[in-house]
């Protein structure tokens, strides 16, 4: 191999970084399904077919109340969508899922059929972090899937650095924590110490079902119920794990770095091609 071969290869390939967010987002895998939409108004009376099929008990229907689905607990297996006889629960193929408040992930009642997407930071926080955000990642009971799909944002296809977002080694250099995992009790102390070492003002971003609400391990005495059990969470990014596009959207949404069309509540184009190239 010539010394120049990797370089010429690189030149032949050209820029590998996706056009998003200036261009359109890459398509989600067609079987991904994206965010869920829950219209409790469509539920048949006394039907609770979705409740027992949910492996993580994210769906509740109590007598006299509409069905309620907690997208923070959801692992997006789609069992409830298949079980629903009246299409009250449907997949939207929308990759956008990040919210600022935990209650914005509760779906079902009129006006709350879909997630209420995160608002951008404002004022001093936006001026401090909008163009430069340094995060310390802490895995506390994560299974290495959320970690892997956060890591992938640093690869050439996604190039997180172009937004001024970077993962740093020391909490002293960080503007906040990106937390994965249900918070194992054995990591509770290390997480608190890491948080204390981050200078204020600071942010917490909870990535994945475990970090939001304990995920498949919710209720095990060896874990807490997500990052919110220990820290004040500023951004919730649901998924098991969230698609990298969902994580990137959440970060850019928080920093107000999305073009107006993406940031708005307008529907994203649904990705459903089998042969197309997805990133």
């Amino acid at each position: 191999m010539s010394f120049f071969e990797p370089i010429t290869h690189r030149l032949r390939q050209g820029c590998q970084t996706m056009a998003f967010p200036a261009g359109s987002p890459p398509a989600l895998p067609d079987r991904h399904g994206g965010a869920l939409r829950v219209e409790a108004a469509r539920c048949a009376a006394d039907c609770a077919a979705c409740v027992p099929v949910c492996p993580v008990q994210a769906i509740a229907r109590t007598p006299g109340n509409p069905v309620a689905l907690d997208l923070g607990k959801c692992i997006f297996c789609g069992e409830c969508v298949a079980a629903c006889p009246t299409r009250a629960i449907t997949q939207t193929n929308d990759y956008r899922l990040a919210v600022r408040r935990r209650e914005d992930l509760l779906l079902g009642s009129p006006g709350a059929e879909e997630v209420r997407l995160a608002a951008a930071l404002t004022g001093k926080m936006k001026s401090l972090f909008g163009r430069s955000l340094r995060l310390r990642q802490v895995s506390a009971g994560g299974c290495n899937a959320c970690e892997a799909d956060v890591n992938v944002l640093g690869t050439i296809g996604w190039d997180l650095g172009r937004f001024g977002i970077q993962f740093v080694a020391s909490p002293r250099h960080a503007d906040g924590l990106l937390v994965t995992g249900a918070i194992s009790r054995n990591m509770e102390l290390a997480l608190k110490k890491t948080w204390d070492a981050v200078p204020a003002p600071k942010l917490v971003i909870a990535v994945g079902a475990c970090a939001i609400a304990g995920g498949p391990f919710a209720g095990n005495p060896e874990v807490l119920q997500g990052a919110g059990s220990v820290l004040p969470v500023d951004l919730y990014i649901p998924g098991c794990p969230p698609h990298p596009l969902t994580i990137l959207d959440g970060l850019l949404r928080l920093l107000d770095r999305l073009p107006a069309t993406e940031a708005s509540g307008l529907k994203a184009p649904s990705g459903s091609e089998v042969s197309g190239h997805t990133i």
């Binding site: 079987r31 949910c54 492996p55 102390l189 990133i279």
Partner: protein, 493 residues
């Protein structure tokens, strides 16, 4: 009752009534196990099952060349039993775990301390091994590391740059997986097993599905077995590619690092093409698979697979051709073949030390009975060998997928499983991308789990990393660590 003469012999994916598992008094059971290990057996699992007022010890031993598993147990023991570890170091962590979980003391164990028990906001690590001397210094790393990785603690005893001893203390990721399985399967069981080690979803889910099918006395449809085998190799391709890239990155060889970071995602997306999730969540379940790979989809997969394979093989060629890379990989972090065998290493780490062991070849179950995969071995035991084995396996997994995608079996992908048998032990091995995954289930009279034991390959291999660091410069720890790339949560359960 006279003690039995032999272990129960069976194949991968077998089940046996608990009453028919040969049982010895604890002391004789340890001696019988030691004899099996001495004649070339390999400890896949060693764990306790509460019974009466004591604890039964259970051993699953593999005889790789004979494609046979041997299962045996002790009668209920209390307080203590003679330790297996002094003669057979591969039992070291298993015996610590039994002591931690059941309070049964292995008399004569050289390093008896907790594995993952809670200690009040952190694991109960106990005292660390210390090297004495005025010029010795101790380096303490973790649990929070300087990267986006899982937590664990490393304690180095150094003389200058040289590492005399490394002790690895884990447990930070402990989520109570095995405890939660008692009385199961529960609603969340499959999701929990898919995330035992989230980068090995297909491997652990396949082991679990095999257990449930074995307990039900039936097999998944052939087409589902075929799909699982495809997904297992896609999982291997994605992770091996990521590891080659990470190794290149650690020695600042950026062309391969940058290329593999992207190609790894291409492989993950092939898994997502089958089931929607990049890590294979929701694909494998007891009774079969949940998504099919129709002809058009298989064609699309094959096209994208070939492109990604060409890319990764090219990126690997750059790595082997770079003198600067070879200089850093060669003779770094060496584990000799005899040490690897004594520690009971599995998977890539074992094969890179010249040991021929691969569940797909030695103990084929599922689709691998019809489609064997050659074992990729490299003799040197160093970082280069572990990288080379990955690269060889990328080629062979690629070839396997190309062959198998061309010859799909027809039929259903799912049959509703019958209820699991009661008072039965079932064992399943799967060659995950890191190595041997071992699941053992023991049911109660109603067919619920009395005990479910999970052995992730990382449980065997973490001591291999500690040994690889002996006599190394501490600055070589990152590439040694990445060359093993072990799971924290898979170990911590």
């Amino acid at each position: 009752m006279n003690p039995p003469r032999e272990f129960y012999l069976c194949g991968n994916g077998a089940s046996v009534p608990w009453a028919e598992v040969p049982a010895w008094p604890a002391e004789e059971f340890v001696a019988a196990t030691a004899a099996e290990l001495a004649r070339g057996g390999r400890l896949c699992a060693w764990f306790g099952v509460p019974e009466a007022d004591g604890t039964c010890l259970v051993a699953v031993i593999a005889f790789d060349a004979e494609n046979t598993l041997a299962v045996g147990r002790s009668l209920p023991a209390v307080n203590s039993y003679p330790s297996l570890t002094p003669g057979h170091p591969q039992a070291h962590l298993f015996e610590r775990e039994v002591w931690e979980q059941h309070g049964l003391v292995p008399d004569g164990h050289p390093w008896l301390k907790p594995v993952r028990r809670q200690g009040g906001g952190h694991p109960a690590a106990g005292e660390f091994f210390r090297v004495a001397g005025g010029e010795i210094h101790e380096v303490s790393v973790g649990p929070v590391h300087a990267g986006i990785i899982e937590p664990g603690h490393f304690r180095f005893q150094c003389n200058g740059e040289e590492v005399l001893h490394l002790e690895i203390a884990l447990g930070y990721q402990h989520r109570g997986v095995e405890t939660a399985l008692a009385g199961g399967p529960h609603r969340a069981t499959l999701s929990q097993l898919e995330t035992v080690a989230g980068d090995t979803t297909i491997g652990h889910a396949t082991a679990y599905a095999t257990i449930m099918e074995s307990l039900a006395g039936e097999e998944a449809p052939l087409r589902a077995q075929w799909l699982r085998a495809l997904a297992l190799e896609l999982e291997r391709l994605a992770n091996h590619t990521g590891d080659l890239g990470a190794l290149a990155g650690d020695v600042a060889f950026l062309p391969t690092a940058a290329a593999c970071g992207k190609i790894r995602g291409d492989f993950l997306n092939l898994t997502a093409l089958i089931c929607g999730n990049r890590f294979g969540r929701g694909l494998v379940r007891p009774g079969g698979c949940r998504h099919d790979l129709e002809t058009a989809r298989a064609g699309a997969l094959l096209g994208r697979l070939r492109a990604a394979l060409a890319d990764v093989n090219q990126a690997a060629e750059w790595l082997w051709a770079a003198n600067s890379v070879r200089a850093r990989f060669e003779l770094t972090g060496t584990v000799a073949s005899v040490q690897a065998a004594e520690l009971g290493l599995v998977g890539v780490a074992a094969r890179a030390s010249g040991l021929v062991r691969d569940v797909r070849f030695d103990h084929p179950a599922g689709w691998h009975r019809f489609a064997p995969v050659p074992v990729a071995v490299w003799p040197d035991g160093d970082v280069l060998a572990r990288a080379r084995v990955r690269s060889l396996e990328i080629q062979r997994s690629g070839k396997f997928l190309e062959d198998q995608l061309g010859t799909p079996p027809d039929g259903e992908i799912f049959t509703a499983a019958r209820p699991p048998a009661g008072d039965t032990l079932a064992v399943a091995l799967v060659e995950g991308w890191r190595g041997e995954i071992c699941h053992v289930a023991i049911t109660d009279a109603a067919g619920r789990f009395r005990r479910y034991k999970i052995t992730d390959p990382s449980f065997h291999n973490w001591p291999g990393l500690a040994l690889a660091m002996r006599g190394q410069a501490i600055s070589d720890f990152p590439i040694c660590n990445k060359s093993f790339n072990l799971s924290y949560c898979g170990f911590d359960l």
